[in-house]
């Protein structure tokens, strides 16, 4: 960008523009540091006398506890299922709505409705719908030959139920990002492919998907962040139960902190979650940056 007569101002400008945002967020970094410090302490609020620095003991206790590995498993499975299904479903719906028409535009707004219902409230809604007495879904299930389907209250179907709710709430998010991507794609390659009579599956896998990848990465990144940190839906549905079936990271940490007052252990659980999130996000963002560089290079 040229034109500025003062070279200093020109250099400082981008910093001045981005600094306020950074500063506001840095404030949040201080508590983050404190949380790291807590995770290195024996720190249960109900035992004030035993508080003290114990280095990595919270972590070693976690890593030798089968319950913790269950938590890792639950969170990763939850993330895999929700993000996977939402990606496929969201892409499918986006392709159905790809053509610009009044109907398609209205439909895409209507389909956004579930996203507007807070997950905590959506869980409440699904609780009503899966109530074995008056719940409409239980009624449908019984019509379909499952009179005794227990939804979230049996460990065999609990994960299915919360994943279903997550899919219901968040597929629209995936859908709208991918729809934006699809509509922004350049027309020439598709027109050329059509002229050449290239089969549609080839067009999809060799043209559409690769060109859509930056969108897919972004949408998946945001969804993954939320899925691995899922709290609202699971806590409202079963508080991590039945048994330990749904004991995801943030649910476990919440219970440790606000019900068992074990701050040290809670912080350690959350630090592990943060580390996993950070690693996964880095992979995504690196990939995204690379794709973008390549696209810029071409353009």
């Amino acid at each position: 960008m040229d034109g500025s007569r003062r070279p200093f101002m020109r250099k400082a400008l981008p910093y001045l523009l981005s600094l306020p945002a950074l500063l506001v967020c840095i404030g949040i970094l201080i508590p983050f540091g404190t949380a790291v410090y807590y995770s290195l302490q024996r720190y249960n609020l109900a035992f004030p006398m035993t508080r003290g620095f114990i280095w990595l003991e919270n972590y070693t206790l976690l890593f030798t506890d089968p319950a913790f590995w269950n938590t890792v498993r639950v969170s990763l499975l939850y993330t895999l299922y929700t993000v996977g299904f939402e990606l496929v479903l969201g892409l499918g719906i986006a392709m159905l709505l790809q053509r610009r028409s009044l109907f398609n535009n209205m439909m895409s707004i209507l389909l956004l409705l579930p996203l507007m219902i807070a997950p905590a409230i959506a869980a409440l809604m699904w609780k009503l719908m899966t109530n074995p007495g008056f719940g409409i879904l239980s009624y449908f299930a019984s019509l379909l030959g499952f009179p005794d389907f227990k939804w979230a209250s049996a460990s065999s179907s609990a994960l299915f139920t919360v994943v279903l709710i997550d899919i219901w709430v968040y597929t629209p998010f995936m859908m709208v990002l991918l729809l934006a991507g699809l509509r922004a794609l350049p027309r020439q390659p598709f027109e050329a492919a059509e002229l050449d009579g290239v089969p549609q599956s080839f067009v999809f896998f060799r043209i559409t998907l690769p060109m859509l990848t930056p969108y897919i990465i972004t949408a998946t990144l945001f969804r993954m962040l939320e899925s691995i940190q899922q709290f609202d839906i699971i806590y409202a549905m079963t508080q991590g139960g039945p048994g330990n079936t749904l004991m995801a990271f943030q649910v476990a940490a919440y219970l440790e902190r606000y019900q068992y007052t074990n701050v040290g252990r809670s912080a350690a659980i959350l630090m592990v979650l943060w580390a996993i999130t950070f690693l996964l996000s880095n992979l995504f963002i690196k990939q995204w940056l690379r794709l973008r560089e390549r696209a810029r290079g071409m353009g």
């Binding site: 249960n44 139960g241 039945p242 019900q259 701050v263």
Partner: protein
């Protein structure tokens, strides 16, 4: 009649009438000696109370943290009385119960003095007390300059006073040596059976008198009555699943949560007696409990009974009480029954839940807060709440003795008083106090869920539970 006897009692206080003549004339009014003495005591303390300065903190504003509950509603309905009596102002925050305790913990652990007093359960004080968040109420109760002479602390049922006091030593007896009064009992519930009398009559059923009968009756309802399951009990992954019917029945078979061995707390859930009780309980839920039992809190248990979806509940007595009113489909059809599951037990042993008032240690106006607490837990408000609102069960003996209260309950809640009288003597907190209460009891509930879900056999599950509980106790240095 009451105003006559009160006049007479006041006359004694003014020394216009001697005690013997007072009792004689009370007799003429049809009032027995003990009741007459009560009125006399009351008149005497009223006179004394005129010396007590309720206006001492005139102009002060205190803030309360409350749970959405009929007890809180009753207090709010009567709050103007307190405000005009003291010249103080009271503001309050009400949170839904789903998040209430988490909110209290969050609030107290941030060390804030936002709230001066709050609603709490007794179990919670086993955490809050050692953490240093609560005031030992003994300091106030025993200080005559701060406590109005009418307060009559001893009128509060002794089991409840003991159950809200603890020395902080894990495993030490509640209310025992060196106990600190961490909270003031406010209203309480004990656990018994509430059942749908309409349905029981239609199907010639009688309320059960032991565990086998409970299971049998429940199973019969599930199979015979269309659209109804047998017995409602809680099942969510929470300590609240263990403390009502479950622990009451468990204790009736003389089973304990912990035992003291060589000065160390040891898990006692893996005994043969415990295993057989767990097996029965699990079978009962599998055969005739609610289908989505694993998500059941007291709200679902109650709503189902009120809506006619369940035949009976083994839960808090006041839950059955609440469901007999309002817009519930079965309002008016519910009846109550004291329950001792162990055929060899002489009486029921209900574990109690005590909604209590606690004072925040971070409060900067503790004396003013105490003024509020002694009013809210005092006899006048308790009588108001018990006669006109749903402030039941009352924690004061004098309220249970109150004729207007008794009449009201006997009229609208048949069998409730009998249920209470049979249950009350054996009722107390049967948990062993220790600060890991929530941790370990939630784990217990989680294990129960796994047993009901057939994920783990009862025996094996309890062995695992005991082992895990012991490990955590040792880790915490208990």
């Amino acid at each position: 009649m009451y105003s006559r006897i009160q006049d007479l009692a006041n006359a004694v206080v003014r020394r216009q009438l001697d005690r013997r003549n007072f009792l004689r004339r009370a007799g003429q009014l049809g009032i027995g000696a003990s009741a007459a003495t009560y009125f006399l005591n009351q008149a005497q303390s009223t006179a004394l109370a005129q010396d007590f300065d309720w206006q001492k903190h005139n102009g002060t504003t205190i803030k309360l943290l409350l749970n959405k509950h009929p007890y809180a509603d009753a207090m709010i309905a009567n709050l103007e009385t307190f405000k005009s009596m003291t010249g103080m102002d009271v503001t309050y925050d009400v949170f839904p119960e789903d998040v209430y305790f988490d909110k209290v913990t969050a609030e107290l652990s941030s060390g804030g003095g936002n709230y001066d007093a709050f609603m709490t359960g007794a179990y919670q004080t086993w955490q809050y007390g050692p953490a240093g968040w609560l005031v030992d109420m003994n300091e106030f109760i025993s200080d005559a300059s701060l406590t109005n002479p009418n307060y009559n602390w001893d009128d509060i049922l002794p089991n409840l006073r003991a159950s809200t006091a603890w020395s902080g030593v894990p495993g030490a007896e509640l209310g025992g040596e060196g106990a600190k009064q961490w909270a003031i009992p406010w209203g309480f519930e004990l656990n018994s059976i509430a059942y749908n009398k309409r349905v029981f009559d239609e199907h010639n059923l009688t309320p059960p008198n032991n565990m086998a009968e409970l299971m049998e009756t429940a199973a019969k309802i599930s199979t015979d009555v269309d659209g109804m399951y047998g017995v409602g009990v809680r099942g969510s992954r929470s300590w609240a699943t263990i403390h009502p019917g479950f622990l009451s029945g468990y204790s009736n078979f003389n089973e304990r949560d912990f035992t003291m061995e060589n000065g160390q707390l040891m898990a006692a859930m893996a005994t043969p007696g415990s295993k057989s009780f767990h097996a029965d309980w699990v079978k009962m839920i599998q055969e005739s409990g609610p289908r989505d039992w694993a998500t059941y809190t007291w709200y679902q248990v109650g709503t189902d009974l009120g809506a006619g979806a369940s035949g009976m509940i083994y839960d808090a007595d006041i839950l059955g009480y609440f469901m007999n009113g309002g817009e519930n489909a079965e309002a008016g059809n519910l009846a109550y029954h004291a329950f001792a599951p162990n055929p060899e037990a002489s009486a029921p042993t209900p574990n109690v839940w005590i909604w209590s008032l606690g004072m925040s240690n971070f409060s900067t106006q503790k004396e003013a807060a105490w003024l509020f607490m002694q009013w809210a837990s005092g006899t006048d408000h308790a009588l108001f709440g018990a006669r006109d609102m749903d402030f039941v069960n009352p924690v004061r003996q004098s309220v249970w003795d109150d004729q207007a209260f008794q009449d009201r309950i006997a009229k609208s809640y048949p069998g409730y008083l009998e249920q209470y009288e049979a249950s009350a003597p054996g009722s107390k907190i049967y948990f062993t106090p220790q600060p890991l209460f929530f941790n370990l009891t939630t784990e217990w509930a989680s294990m129960l869920q796994q047993m009901v879900g057939n994920e783990v056999p009862v025996d094996e599950g309890l062995d695992q539970l005991a082992e895990s509980v012991n490990r955590q106790l040792r880790q915490a240095g208990i």
